[in-house]
Symmetry: C2
Amino acid sequence: MTSISAIDAIRSQRAIREFSDEPVSEEAVTQLIQAAIRAPSASNKQPWHFLVVRDAEAKRKIGLWYMDSVYSYSGQERPSDGITEPHPIMSAPVLIFACIDAVDVADRLTLGASIFPAAQNLMLAARSMGLGTTLTTLHRPHQDEIRALLGIPESVETAALIPVGYPGGDQHFGGSRRRPAKELTYYERWGATK
Amino acid sequence: MTSISAIDAIRSQRAIREFSDEPVSEEAVTQLIQAAIRAPSASNKQPWHFLVVRDAEAKRKIGLWYMDSVYSYSGQERPSDGITEPHPIMSAPVLIFACIDAVDVADRLTLGASIFPAAQNLMLAARSMGLGTTLTTLHRPHQDEIRALLGIPESVETAALIPVGYPGGDQHFGGSRRRPAKELTYYERWGATK
């Protein structure tokens, strides 16, 4: 474990979308999930589960569904002979589903308060270990197929799908573009910037 | 800014529910929001806004609404003469609303993927600066009143309300209880622990 500061990890985290072949150890995955479960959750109920997928055939299927969602989202026309190439990001050495028990929660936005902080902890821990991640949710239109594939109960939401691996190609940490904080920070009243 | 490691910040973050009178500088608040906006968001749209409240009367009103939600949530009977004492956590030196543009997003759980990682960044940065926070959402049943009070448009969701201050009373970082990670980590298939 390196000793990168919290602020440096936060500042230099960015989506890593291409991975090297360097394997990700089981111990590293455990450390990521140890970090995830330190996050807050409503009433400290810890309603989370983490499903780790390394199997190539499972990743291929997930990657095809993910690619289908990308076509839907972008409005691009699908290939006339169907989608045959899985989305490359889903060929990462490890995929982690961040899941949440979701029965009886009417306010679905608030439900996210008990899983996305855990996902962010996982991604910051990954950053501090030199591992790249991306927070993805485009698997969700195909959640039912994914549930069937991996045996996930209907009472559980696959809130996020996080590919994990060492950065490959020209991928690197840091330097993501952001709007200036002062434009979106208001004082005492909506719209009142300083 | 201290140089606490990312892992130490993650491990020692916990909800701080009582605050000292030590003021929180404007610069510190800016640093928190600078950390928040490094978080990922869907398609890097950064659909967030942060509303900083220090005004005592506004905090008092928010604290009364929050207390009302606590009664609802716990099923406790309200005082016969009405709620006259605001919830003490809302008397923190600073309240920060983490808000998100929420028009046209059908999947409300997924909406959270673009605001709760930012909230977690803010809370980890706070931890690294010695500032305590709690991630709260119980203001949401009274969101309409809060919108009216602070001029927040209806197109915006106040996803989280984060009190910020230096820990007071016997409050301290670290040592939060968690279920062991190995019980909730599955490999290749739901329920398959190692």
